[in-house]
Amino acid sequence: MDGLLFGAAMKRILREYLGFLVMLGVCLVVLKFSPTLGRRVFQIAFRNVLFMLSVIPPIFILVGLFDVWVPKEKVMKHLGDTSGFVGTAISLALGAFTAGPLYAAFPVAEVLLKKGVSLKNVWIFLGAWSTMKIPLLLFELQNLGALFALTRYGMSFLGVLGIAWVLERVIDPEEKRLIRLPFTEEWKKTKESDIMGKQVL
């Protein structure tokens, strides 16, 4: 049983690293046929891995600590009944401080919609999540320098607000209602009665 589990875990790890292993194979072939070029490939890769390993530990430790000490749920609790400037600021902060890829943001957006947060603020949250993450800003500062990172961050801030502002205006009220509909109480009730109806039949 344990062996089976171990085998499954190994298979998963192997699949995750398949691309890397193929690349490693290619690099080794290069090294075999052209030691000069091959050595340069490994030198460049090694230098970059070393750089990454030297700058990333504090960032990830901060992400972990933040996740544990400031849970998302706590922040979201305050979001439902705030609007205007405060709501926008909290939406921005919620997106910027939590960790995760964009597809992980949608379930959080769903919670926000259920709590009645305005669509504009949900779009701001999505924008901040996608491009204003603080851990990534720190990493960008180290990789690409302050001028690059801060200019891009400032532009992202304006862009996130601007895009939400435009969306608020180009999406008509009917479409907005349709977006909100699945996240409202009435919808849940009609769904439930649907299911009950089928059970009766």
């Binding site: 490939v41 000490w69 597809y103 895009i163 977006i179």
Partner: protein
């Protein structure tokens, strides 16, 4: 500059870590476990892309990278950078070292800013998922707006470097 910010980060992370350890041992362990998991999560694509890019920069001469993604690559460079950014799903922690490596080998800052911005804000692959929450029309609008805005970001970064270099 980057050295200083790295030291500051280490100092800040360590300070918080010891504070956290003193307050709650269990929570601290949990935080470290999460940190380690996040790291393991980006390791496979990072290892793959660093090797791939090392191959690319060794085999493509600097002039070729400059022609396609360099300062003077013009519309073509922006176009390539924006399409690659919009279509691919590369984690930010992998994309930033990638951009650094390309910058060191002939790519332009504006092109890299466009690449990073479209990568983070535009999601062609995630669009179906996004549409499940926000429906088709809003998803299309958001991605289009983000796509075109990314060129403005590239322009701003180019401008910033232009002004500082002068």
């Amino acid at each position: 500059m980057s050295d200083l910010s790295t030291y500051l980060l280490y100092a800040f992370a360590l300070a918080w870590f010891f504070f956290s350890l003193a307050r709650d041992r269990k929570k601290t362990e949990q935080a470290l476990r999460r940190a380690w998991r996040s790291f393991l999560g980006i390791l496979p694509p990072f290892a793959f892309l660093i090797l791939l890019l090392s191959l690319v920069v060794v085999f493509l001469p600097q002039e070729a990278i400059a022609r396609f993604l360099g300062e003077k690559s013009g519309f073509l460079g922006y176009f390539i950078a924006s399409i690659v950014g919009a279509v691919t799903l590369i984690p930010g922690f992998v994309a930033l070292p990638m951009a650094k490596l390309l910058l060191e080998h002939g790519a332009g800052v504006a092109q890299m800013a466009v690449f990073i911005s479209t990568l983070m804000m535009v999601g062609v692959v995630t669009a179906p998922l996004e549409a499940r929450y926000f429906r088709f029309r809003a998803t299309l609008w958001r991605n289009l707006l983000a796509y075109f805005y990314s060129f403005l970001v590239g322009y701003a970064v180019w401008m910033a470097f232009f002004l500082v270099r002068r």
